[in-house]
C-alpha cells in the first residue's frame, strides 16, 4: 500500500507539470484559487473566453481530451494518465467547465456511434475547444424518467424534422452542437421509440431561452425546437436504439472520476476557525466540533474512495462501484454545511451581501445553490436506486409503463 507513482506515472507527471508551468494562464491563478464551492468568479474575464484559450493551448500541446485516440484530437493516454493530468492541472481545471459535457458525454457518444467522417470532422474541434457541445436529454415532463420524453423527430425524406422542448441544458447559449435524444415512434413502449442525433445549435428553429434559477443565477436553459431539420447522417445508432445509445453517454458521465467535487469542508473549517461566538472561537465549541469532525471524516472518506478508484485505474483494472457515492455524499453535505454556517452567524446569517461579516456571502450562495447539486446529473433518489440495484443487486422498481405503448401512458396525475 503506497501513494507513489510508478516510474512511468512519475515521468508522465513530470512532463505534464513542466508543460503546465510553461503554459498555464498564471494571471488567473489567484482568482481561480479563490473560487470555491463550485463557483467561478473572474472579475475581468468571461469563463468561456478564457476557457477556450486554455483549451486551445492544451490541444496544441496535445493535452486536450488526452484519453481520446490521437486521430480524434486526443493523446491516446491511459485512464490513470488522465487522472494525473487533472491533479497537475489543478485550479486551471476550473477553466474546462464549458467543455466538460462535450468531453465527458457528447464526444464519447460520437466516438462510439458516429461515422468515421463525423468523428474526424467533429471530435478534434470539440477537443480544441473551437466548438462547444451541450446535451439535450431532459424535458419538462421527463427528468429522472428521461425515457418518457416527448420531443418528436419525424422522418421526411433524408431528413428528420424535430419539434419539442428540452430543459436544464447547461451551456446551450454558448454551444455550437448538441446531442439530442428524441421520440421517433410513439406507438411502441417508451424505451423502444427513441433515437439519438446531433445537431448544429445554430439551425433554424432552435431557440435557447435562459432559465432564471432559484438561486437567482442563469446557468441552464430551455431549448425549443420548431420544425428543426436534421440530416439523417447526423443520427447516432439505429432508429429506435436511442435508449441504449444514451446509456453509453450516461455511463461515460459516471465513469468520470469525481476528483473535483466540492464538499465545503475546507471552507467550513476556516470559517469556524475565525468566527467569534459569545464564548470564544466557534471551533472551540463542542457542538461545532462534533459536526465539523463528522463532515471532515466524510470528506476524507470521499477523498480516499477516489484514491481507491485511481489505484484500480493505475493497475489497469476496472474501478469498483465505490466511486458512485461521490455526488450523493457531497451534495447533501454542502447543503448541511451551508445551513449550519448560517446558523452560526445568527440573525446576520440572513444577509447575502459580499462583506466580510458574511465571509463574502459564500455560504449564503451555497445554501441557495446546493439544491441543484442534489438534482443535476441524477437526483439523490436515482443515485440511491443505482447503488441499490447495480451495487447491492436489489430488484428494479416495478415499472407500470414498461410494456405500454408510449402514447397510451397517462400524462397527468389528476
Amino acid at each position: 500500500m503506497n501513494f507513489d507513482d510508478t516510474p512511468q506515472e512519475a515521468a508522465f507527471r513530470e512532463t505534464a507539470r513542466k508543460w503546465i508551468d510553461a503554459n498555464a494562464p498564471k494571471e488567473l491563478q489567484a482568482e481561480l484559487s479563490k473560487s470555491s464551492l463550485g463557483r467561478i468568479r473572474l472579475a475581468n474575464h468571461d469563463i468561456v473566453d478564457v476557457g477556450k484559450a486554455w483549451q486551445k493551448k492544451k490541444f496544441e500541446g496535445n493535452w486536450a481530451c488526452l484519453h481520446w485516440p490521437r486521430e480524434y484530437g486526443g493523446r491516446g493516454a491511459t485512464p490513470i494518465e488522465k487522472v494525473i493530468w487533472q491533479q497537475e492541472e489543478g485550479v486551471y481545471g476550473k477553466l474546462t467547465q464549458p467543455f466538460q459535457i462535450g468531453e465527458g458525454m457528447c464526444g464519447p457518444t460520437v466516438m462510439a456511434f458516429g461515422s468515421e467522417d463525423a468523428k474526424r470532422r467533429y471530435l478534434p474541434k470539440l477537443a480544441s475547444g473551437e466548438e462547444i457541445w451541450c446535451q439535450l436529454f431532459s424535458e419538462p415532463a421527463a427528468g429522472s424518467d428521461v425515457a418518457g420524453l416527448r420531443t418528436r423527430a419525424e422522418k421526411k425524406g433524408d431528413n428528420w424534422v424535430v419539434n419539442g422542448q428540452k430543459i436544464w441544458t447547461s451551456g446551450a447559449h454558448y454551444s455550437d452542437y448538441g446531442l439530442l435524444i428524441a421520440r421517433t415512434d410513439p406507438n411502441v413502449p417508451k424505451h423502444k421509440g427513441l433515437t439519438m442525433f446531433f445537431l448544429n445549435m445554430k439551425s433554424p428553429g432552435v431557440e435557447v431561452r435562459p432559465i432564471k434559477q432559484a438561486n437567482g443565477m442563469q446557468e441552464f436553459n430551455e431549448v425549443y425546437f420548431t420544425d428543426v431539420v436534421i440530416p439523417d447522417s447526423q443520427r447516432l445508432g439505429a432508429v429506435g436504439d436511442g435508449w441504449s445509445v444514451s446509456l453509453t453517454t450516461l455511463m461515460n458521465e459516471r465513469m468520470s472520476i469525481g476528483a473535483r467535487l466540492a464538499t465545503g469542508v475546507p471552507e467550513m473549517f476556516e470559517f469556524c476557525s475565525n468566527l467569534m461566538l459569545e464564548d470564544g472561537v466557534a471551533i472551540d465549541d463542542r457542538a461545532v466540533r462534533s459536526k465539523l469532525a463528522s463532515w471532515a471524516a466524510k470528506s476524507s472518506g470521499l477523498k480516499y474512495t477516489s484514491y481507491r478508484t485511481i489505484s484500480a485505474l493505475s493497475k489497469g483494472e476496472r474501478p469498483g462501484p465505490e466511486n458512485s457515492i461521490g455526488k450523493l455524499v457531497s451534495g447533501m453535505m454542502l447543503q448541511d454545511i451551508a445551513t449550519y454556517a448560517m446558523d452560526l452567524q445568527g440573525a446576520a446569517g440572513v444577509l447575502t451581501g459580499s462583506d466580510e461579516e458574511t465571509v463574502q456571502g459564500q455560504f449564503q450562495q451555497m445554501l441557495l445553490s446546493s439544491p441543484s447539486m442534489r438534482i443535476a446529473g441524477g437526483t439523490d433518489e436515482i443515485l440511491r436506486n443505482i447503488i441499490a440495484e447495480r451495487v447491492l443487486g436489489l430488484p428494479g422498481d416495478i415499472r407500470v409503463d414498461k410494456d405500454v405503448p408510449y402514447n397510451k401512458i397517462p400524462t397527468k396525475g389528476r
Binding site: 480516499y304 485511481i310 447491492l392
Partner: protein, 375 residues
C-alpha cells in the same frame, strides 16, 4: 498509486474468512452470548495456530513478523464474524503497548505468550464515566505498587496481564501518568465481572490493592505512549467495525431479497432500497478512511493521529448505522433474540465506546486538523 492491499494480503483475508466461517459460526458466538463460556477458547487456540495472534509481532518475539497491514486484514474478518474472543484487548492494545514501550525482558515475557495463545492481555485505562484524559486517572502508583479501581476493563476477567494507566504525579500535566505492567494472576488484584451491552465481549472491574507492578516505558511517559496505543488501536478497531458494518449490510440485503410482502420482494421498495444504499455509502466511506489509517499505521506516518481519528469516527458511524438499519430491514424478526441482527447491534454500540466515545474522537480529529493547519 497503489492504495489497496496486496494479493498476498487479500489471500490472507480469504484464508481468515474461511477459517472463521468454519470455527466462528453465529452458533459458536451464541455460546458466549448466552453466558455458557467467558470467551471461545477453541477459537482462540485456533487463531494462535493460524498465526493470526502474532501476525504483527516480530519473529524474534515469537510472532509471524508480517506487519500491520496483515493485521488490518485479519481485524476486518474478526469484525465480520463477530468473534467472541479478546482479540482487540490482547493484540491491538496490550501487544501494541509492549511493542512501543516494553523492555526487551518484558517483550520476551509476554509477546511470545500472546502469539502462542497462552496469554490474554488488556488495557486498564478507564475509571468509571468519562473519556481518555489524564485528569480521569486517579489510580495511584507509588513504590512499585498500585492502589485503585479500573472499570470497565474489556476482557479484564479473562486476562492474564494488564497494562495499567496510573498516576505517579500531581502536577496537573500529562507527565503525571505512567504505565505499568501487572500480572493479574498475582496478588493484590480483585476482579469482578460486569454485565454489559455486548456479552460476547466481557467487561470487568479490577481493584488493585498494594498490587506489585513494573513500569512499562519511562515514568511520566505514560500518556504519550497511551496516545500512540489508542491511535493504533483505533485503526485496527476501525477494520473490525468495517467488517461488522459490511456483514450487517449483507444481512439486510439478503433479507430484503428473500422476504416477500405486498406480493413482492421488500428489496424492490424504494424505502428499503434507499436505506440499504445509505448503509453502503457509510460502509464505503469507513472502508476508505480505514485504508488510509492502515497506510499511516503500517508506515508509522506523521499523518497517523489524524488518519486514526477519521477512521475511528467513520467506522464507528458506519457500523452503528448498518447494524441499526439491518434490524429495521428485518422488521419484527430483527428484534428477536433468535435472529443474529442484535449481536451486531450490540457489538457496534459497544465498540463505539471502547477506546473513547465518538465525541472524544471528534474532538481529537479537530485538534489534530488544527495542529496540521497551524504547522
Amino acid at each position: 498509486m497503489n492504495f489497496d492491499f496486496s494479493d498476498d494480503q487479500k489471500q490472507l483475508r480469504d484464508q481468515a474468512r474461511k477459517f472463521l466461517a468454519e470455527k466462528c459460526s453465529p452458533k459458536a458466538v451464541r455460546v458466549v452470548l448466552d453466558g455458557k463460556a467467558p470467551y471461545d477458547k477453541e477459537l482462540w487456540k485456533g487463531l494462535a495456530e493460524m498465526g493470526f495472534l502474532g501476525v504483527a509481532i516480530p519473529e524474534e518475539f515469537g510472532g509471524a513478523g508480517a506487519g500491520h497491514l496483515e493485521l488490518c486484514v485479519i481485524a476486518e474478518e474478526m469484525g465480520r464474524a463477530n468473534a467472541p474472543v479478546p482479540f482487540s484487548s490482547t493484540v491491538y492494545l496490550a501487544a501494541e503497548a509492549l511493542l512501543i514501550a516494553g523492555s526487551d525482558v518484558q517483550k520476551k515475557k509476554w509477546l511470545p505468550a500472546i502469539a502462542a495463545g497462552e496469554a490474554i492481555g488488556t488495557l486498564a485505562l478507564f475509571e468509571g464515566k468519562g473519556n481518555p484524559s489524564p485528569k480521569n486517572i486517579k489510580l495511584m502508583a507509588a513504590n512499585g505498587t498500585l492502589n485503585g479501581v479500573k472499570k470497565p476493563v474489556a476482557d479484564g476477567a479473562i486476562a492474564d496481564f494488564a497494562v495499567v494507566a496510573a498516576r505517579t504525579g500531581s502536577s496537573g500535566r500529562e507527565s503525571d501518568i505512567s504505565l505499568f505492567l501487572v500480572d493479574l494472576k498475582a496478588g493484590g488484584v480483585e476482579v469482578k465481572n460486569l454485565t454489559n451491552l455486548d456479552p460476547t465481549r466481557s467487561q470487568a472491574e479490577i481493584t488493585f490493592t498494594n498490587c506489585k507492578a513494573e513500569l512499562l516505558g519511562a515514568a511520566g511517559e505514560g500518556w504519550s505512549i497511551l496516545t500512540q496505543v489508542l491511535d493504533r488501536a483505533a485503526v485496527l478497531c476501525a477494520f473490525e467495525q468495517v467488517g461488522g458494518a459490511d456483514r450487517a449490510l449483507e444481512m439486510g440485503r439478503d433479507y430484503a431479497l428473500d422476504r416477500i410482502a405486498f406480493g413482492r420482494q421488500i428489496g424492490s421498495f424504494q424505502a428499503v432500497k434507499h436505506m440499504l444504499a445509505d448503509m453502503y455509502v457509510s460502509a464505503t466511506l469507513a472502508r476508505s478512511n480505514s485504508y488510509y489509517g492502515a497506510w499511516a499505521l503500517s508506515t508509522n506516518a506523521a499523518e497517523l493521529p489524524e488518519a486514526a481519528a477519521a477512521a475511528r469516527i467513520s467506522a464507528t458511524q458506519a457500523f452503528q448505522h448498518c447494524a441499526k438499519n439491518n434490524i429495521q430491514v428485518h422488521g419484527g424478526m430483527g428484534f428477536t433474540w433468535e435472529f443474529d441482527c442484535h449481536m451486531y447491534y450490540r457489538r457496534a454500540n459497544a465498540m463505539a465506546l471502547g477506546l473513547g466515545s465518538l465525541s472524544y474522537w471528534e474532538d481529537q480529529l479537530i485538534d489534530r486538523m488544527r495542529k496540521k493547519n497551524a504547522a
